[in-house]
């Protein structure tokens, strides 16, 4: 069965996120004064053949651990849905 996997990769909390800071400043310049703690990550979607939702999640975690996220600097969350 085909599963849709959505991965959200974010820079680990505590690490400087210069992109997030730059966007935060730009939002301030636009007048959105209330916006802070801006952080920028990455979203990855893929379709995956697997026997079950659990198997799809296991495979997707292995992909994240080995390639999609850097375990030193990033955290990830993933969601698996049938389609």
């Amino acid at each position: 069965m085909k599963y849709r996997v959505r991965v959200r990769v974010m820079p680990r909390g505590g690490l400087l996120d210069p992109q997030g800071q730059a966007v935060e400043h730009a939002l301030g310049a636009l007048g959105f004064d209330g916006a802070d703690e801006v952080r920028i990550g990455r979203a990855i979607e893929l379709a995956l053949d697997a026997g079950s939702s659990d198997e799809a999640e296991t495979l997707a975690r292995a992909m994240c651990d080995r390639l999609l996220a850097n375990p030193v600097t990033e955290d990830y969350e993933l969601a698996v849905e049938g389609r």
């Binding site: 992109q19 730059a22 850097n70 030193v72 600097t73």
Partner: protein
């Protein structure tokens, strides 16, 4: 003659400079392609700078899975010398042959300029011809050069004397933790640095401070042979 394999990935762009610097130092250089499965009998694997695979996903993340990287890993695990410069350093971190990671520069700009660096350790294949504490000017050219590691890894690097090159006080161009510009693995046969010594090897280029780094590669087998176990850094050596 010492043989150095310059590993080319799609997007490498400092490969020819590295090749030239190796030859200038008196070693034999050869190119190895990312699809190759061996290092063509080389003594040293050199991963040059550039933007392998367009820096897609993260700098060095895709190159890490090139067929040639299995040979590089095997070479490193057997004690062979592996050197990564700039993108090569990023690849070695992604491959976990070196700890930590290189993230986006703190001020978001691509930095391309000469930067003052201090040689911290001279018992490595890239610095053994230099003097400990020497101040050198080396070109940097990177957008993702901010070295980060978790506190435990960072403490280990410092206590084991594995920070081999540091940006001089006030010269840190990217926000690297502890001003780190280059590190080695525990066995000291795998080293990575962000600056580009291969771009500064001849007076004609306006700077030859990088030449000694390539002399080091040449000298390392003899340096290490008599007393590999001692591996002391001698500040009187020049």
């Amino acid at each position: 003659m010492l043989r150095v394999a310059v590993v080319r990935f799609p997007g490498s762009n400092c490969d020819e400079d590295a090749y030239g610097a190796v030859e200038l130092a008196g070693a034999e250089a050869r190119y190895v392609w990312h699809r190759d499965t061996g290092l063509d009998g080389a003594d040293v694997a050199l991963l040059p700078g550039g933007f392998s695979y367009g820096d897609y996903l993260r700098a060095g993340a895709i190159a890490r899975f090139s067929p040639v990287m299995a040979a590089v890993r095997k070479h490193a695990e057997a004690g062979g010398v592996v050197i990564g410069i700039c993108n090569g350093f990023q690849i070695l971190c992604e491959a976990h042959l070196l700890p930590g990671a290189l993230m986006r520069n703190d001020r978001l700009t691509f930095v391309s300029k000469p930067v003052a660096c201090i040689v911290e350790q001279t018992d490595t294949p890239l610095t053994c011809a230099l003097r400990q504490g020497a101040r050198v000017s080396l070109p940097v050219a990177h957008g993702d050069g901010r070295y980060v590691a978790d506190p435990a890894s960072l403490a280990e690097l410092e206590s084991e004397g594995r920070v081999i090159l540091r940006y001089a006080g006030g010269a840190n161009p990217n926000g690297s933790l502890n001003d780190i510009a280059g590190i080695s693995n525990a066995a000291r046969n795998v080293v990575g640095i962000m600056p580009h010594p291969e771009r500064a090897v001849e007076p004609l280029l306006g700077n030859s401070d990088g030449a000694e780094f390539f002399t080091s590669i040449m000298r390392w087998p003899a340096e290490r042979a008599p007393a590999a176990a001692l591996a002391t850094s001698d500040p009187t050596r020049s």
